[in-house]
Symmetry: C2
Subunit: 329 residues, 2 copies
């Protein structure tokens, strides 16, 4: 049964600083073209003083305006991000603060499944909206990857970018809705992409020359892709099993922008051509949980996704998790 | 309308190391009785090598056994904790791994609203269970506070303890269910209790003599309590407004174990006597998000909460948030 929720507004914020592939090439003392060839990323954005809550609030203001409502109409704020601004409190509270809603009382909390945080949060909160608990949920993915990259690992560090996307999710009164959603976590791959430190296991107070790499992103890209690729067919089958649809009925696939090469192979495996597969990695890099909503934002603004279209949000994340939502926009 | 969910099993794990008030007194070169008098905490537990995912898995195994089901019956794992084990991946994935469910595919993600993470997660996932998305959700709060305490701040550092609690939450086929739930976030108080570092704003790589306190818990207890206390009456009114109940109908209040003095004042403000107010702080301290489920665990095991009883889960958290759930156990 379709869940009656509708994305009534979307907004984004991109950091001031644009980092071109050439800058990355120089950093690695490589010839021009090296990083773009390896990653497919022509440019990405890195924060230049912006915080996650600032970016999130900017994206939120745009989403609220796009929805044609006011901030006072928002009755729940969720940060669906793979990174936090502070260890305490949750980022959603800090976004509420940045929005000047100090006295609002709007419930604010975080949902985290790394790169799938946006999808997991959208999936979960849709039931509460369907049920009437909330009317207009502000869901924000605001990510700063640049601070946690390990420049000794070009494979991962040349991929990522920063930025924020927000949507307003409301009760649908027309055909818009979630047709199907599914998530799988296979902890077999829990350590294929991780930041071991920063939590209670290796607390920041143990930061030193010996441990410093534990606080930076560490990825075994090949193993990660191999496992994801193996799990994908049965995942897609399950996702569509409760519907009358197949991948052929999807107007646009909105994938996580993991890496250009992974996306190409996934696209071919799904059997969709480029016209039905949003690929924005060359302009933004991998923006963690903000990648999928950023690709959706671009698809909407470019007119490649229109009301009534059936779209598929699809991604993998550290965990290892796969998540997908089939929805009528 | 009551949400048909039922806590069918509960389990806990306490770290091996018991830390008595006397040990704390000595650490501060104070006379015996000093810390207990200030905090109301006679003892608490600190991890001695245990990780959050290990503790969470131990509590989960107990909860699953208590529920009379097997691990294979679990179809969703949520970590509702204010602390993370690692920055990436989410703690729920690591708990899945610890449970040996590597290949299970069970969707696993985190919900975070600091001390209210358990309550927020229970509240949100209840709609998905009601709707039939999941049958048996494993909700785990596993907290290690001890690693992040600032011993230059006795006011907060003498309060906290570590430990884990897990529940199995399932569709209810009898009277058990959530009668009402409500959450408010007032970011006016976002910085009254915080750990400024550890996220993207002050990354662990900036840890040094100057910044070290930014990575430890910092609390203005008086201001925090003042704001919470001011917000409580209207919060309680809203929580009960959709019900035919009042605080008089609650068999047992299961409060967040913030501090002994705060709990005493809150209890009096609510107008309930000690027999209807679970106070376990003297044996466990403040266990962050694990406090409320730990108090529930004790209430059930001591026979102070029985099937059919109407109970109130109630707490405040960094953010500042207030959250509550009225449920028939």
């Amino acid at each position: 049964m379709k869940r009656s929720v509708k994305i009534i507004g979307i907004g984004s914020y991109l950091p001031k600083r644009i980092v071109k592939a050439e800058e990355i090439d120089k950093m690695f003392s490589q010839s021009i073209g090296w990083s773009e060839k390896k990653s497919g990323v022509k440019q990405r954005y890195y924060v230049d003083g912006e915080t996650a809550s600032f970016m999130g609030a900017e994206a939120a203001l745009q989403a609220v305006q796009d929805a044609g409502i006011s901030l006072n109409d928002i009755d729940c704020i969720i940060s669906g991000s793979g990174t936090m601004e502070q260890a305490i409190p949750c980022t959603a509270s800090l976004i509420q603060e940045q929005l000047g809603l100090h006295h609002s009382g709007i419930p604010s909390f975080d949902v985290n499944s790394t790169c799938l945080s946006f999808v997991s949060a959208l999936d979960m909160i849709s039931y509460a909206i369907e049920y009437g608990r909330y009317k207009n949920v502000l869901l924000v993915s605001s990510e700063i990857s640049s601070v946690g990259l390990n420049w000794d690992q070009p494979e991962s560090s040349i991929l990522f970018g920063d930025g924020a996307v927000a949507i307003v999710l409301s009760k649908s009164h027309d055909h818009s809705g979630i047709i199907s959603s599914h998530m799988e976590t296979h902890s077999l791959g829990a350590h294929l992409s991780e930041i071991r430190g920063g939590g209670t296991k290796i607390h920041p107070k143990f930061y030193d020359e010996q441990t410093k790499d534990d606080f930076l992103f560490d990825m075994d890209g090949k193993a990660l892709f191999k496992l994801s690729f193996k799990l994908l067919p049965s995942f897609i089958e399950t996702l569509f099993s409760s519907t009358n649809l197949s991948i052929k009925d999807i107007h646009m696939v909105i994938p996580h922008q993991a890496s250009a090469s992974a996306m190409k192979i996934i696209r071919k495996k799904l059997g969709v051509d480029e016209s039905r597969f949003m690929n924005i990695i060359e302009n933004y890099g991998n923006m963690i949980a903000a990648s999928i909503p950023m690709a959706l934002y671009e698809a909407i603004k470019q007119g490649r996704v229109n009301r009534g279209d059936t779209i598929l949000l699809l991604g993998t994340s550290a965990g290892l998790s796969i998540g997908g939502i089939v929805l009528e926009y």
